[in-house]
Symmetry: C2
Subunit: 349 residues, 2 copies
Amino acid sequence: MSNDTFLRALRREPVEYTPVWMMRQAGRYLPEYRETRAQAGGIQDLFANPELACEVTLQPLRRFDLDAAILFSDILTIPDALGLGLYFETGEGPRFRNPVQNEAAITRLKVLQTEKDLPYVLDAVRLIRRELNGRVPLIGFSGSPWTLATYMVEGGSSKDFARIKTLAYEQPQVLQHLLGVLTESVADYLCAQIRSGAQAVQLFDTWGGALSAAAYRKFSLQPMQSIVEHVKAAHPDIPVIVFTKNGGLWLDGILETACDCIGLDWTMDIGVARQQVGERVALQGNMDPAILRASPAVIRQEVADILAAYGHGNGHIFNLGHGITPDIPPEHAGAFIDAVHELSPAYHQ
Amino acid sequence: MSNDTFLRALRREPVEYTPVWMMRQAGRYLPEYRETRAQAGGIQDLFANPELACEVTLQPLRRFDLDAAILFSDILTIPDALGLGLYFETGEGPRFRNPVQNEAAITRLKVLQTEKDLPYVLDAVRLIRRELNGRVPLIGFSGSPWTLATYMVEGGSSKDFARIKTLAYEQPQVLQHLLGVLTESVADYLCAQIRSGAQAVQLFDTWGGALSAAAYRKFSLQPMQSIVEHVKAAHPDIPVIVFTKNGGLWLDGILETACDCIGLDWTMDIGVARQQVGERVALQGNMDPAILRASPAVIRQEVADILAAYGHGNGHIFNLGHGITPDIPPEHAGAFIDAVHELSPAYHQ
């Protein structure tokens, strides 16, 4: 591989500079993405088509000096493959035709068999690896069981998670059944992505932070721990990243999953996080994506502050604290990536 | 006063049981509130009318054995009085006719003079104190400067705080001017409420948790610290509560404000919080309001778990981790309050 900086940083090995990628780097802020998507029809026509998924995965790498590619796909491919009928309503985000809102619907769910149920994702992984041709590593990913379950029970995005929290507190055994199906499914999905060529994987736990500390442990962390164990048993050399948005309070818990890297959102001081868990795990993050709306000089200063907070030494992968938003000028994303590359070598001497 | 348990708990003095109140306890989940509001016209007709504000403040105390009353008012009375033109759009929440979105608009703002600009709030405080007749203490409140500023700059509720964060990073001195006006205004507002009869005050920092650790300190915590200093200088015996939603990572910082009590949302384990800061400050919280949708038996178990997590001794005020939502059956709120009163004496022997 011509650039394995990202993989070395995940193993907390020495690197020459801090590697950087952006959550949602293949996305709507790029005019070429919007064009490809408009030609294809909609987002589902992109991620279900391996050639187009490959194309949009590679688009940000043509513009920017990124240290990793991440598979372009939707976080909700698993529930869709389980029969929930994913669709997208303009301005409303993802929806399901058949949400699972009672015990009977949840009991009927069968564990995902990725090779059979989501072949297009694996085809995309293989194609991207071939097209990347060793330039940078490819990250595979999945939503966490809890995060997938929120969409499956609520029927789409939610503000207060009323349905799934009622399920969690009134019928915890039913929710645990759903989480069990998803845990096995996500483990199968990630292992299949790895067999097809993914060189690291990330669990996106977007909504774990909506839970209490105790409920997070039961309903979000424990399933993720099972997945990490499963993936590590089959693929001990593939680094696993666990990202719980608003999970800064629970780093010690996340560490127990035995993941290689913890993703941080911007609310956590990365220096404090390093003091707490940095001897045992790599840290990924954590600039507020809102800062990309500011001028390149402001972006550069924020990068400098985060690098200084992390300090000298290994184990830092630079990223945003959440996905880049559609309104960001691409040249601001470029200024961000360049700043990381220009300012970080001083911390690796 | 016939029941000063709440005030003693705020001072971390011995109590016979853990006092309890609920954020937004006077609100839409109560049919009598909905009736009063429908008769009045809208929410603005409620909080701008001292008799009606008094009536809805007292409604939950007629139903439940609450240990404190909280002034019924809107969090956005200050910006309204500063000329922003508050209105409410059905299903959309609060809006401003004249948001302040540039330097000129912000520079024109003048500091609130509560006695002159918001006499109806002070009339309500006096009336409620008279009607309470010493039954339980009355809490006054204000939004934090950062939280008020988010609404004033965004023009209403916001999902990603795009405008105010751009202001924060591009023109920090302009935002600091706005926060300065609001800091003086909030301090004046709280002191006026205290002079009119409020026996404790709470700062609601609903949106501080949307900031990075460093930005929280600059834009939300520092203004709150100035306000606490100002209030304490004028009224050293009045307890001050600071509540930052999603502020669990920053308890040591919040402690520096010299507040008497830190409000916790449900993401923080209250036992961990007590270990961290509980020798120096009282703690208020922190049940997930979503649990009030579950059955009374589940609510009771959750109350038991939170009491056990806090443990024996003084300094705990029970509350929800955020406001009670309109869909909660009132009898579930009653089960919550009764459970606190029935289960907590064991922790105060």
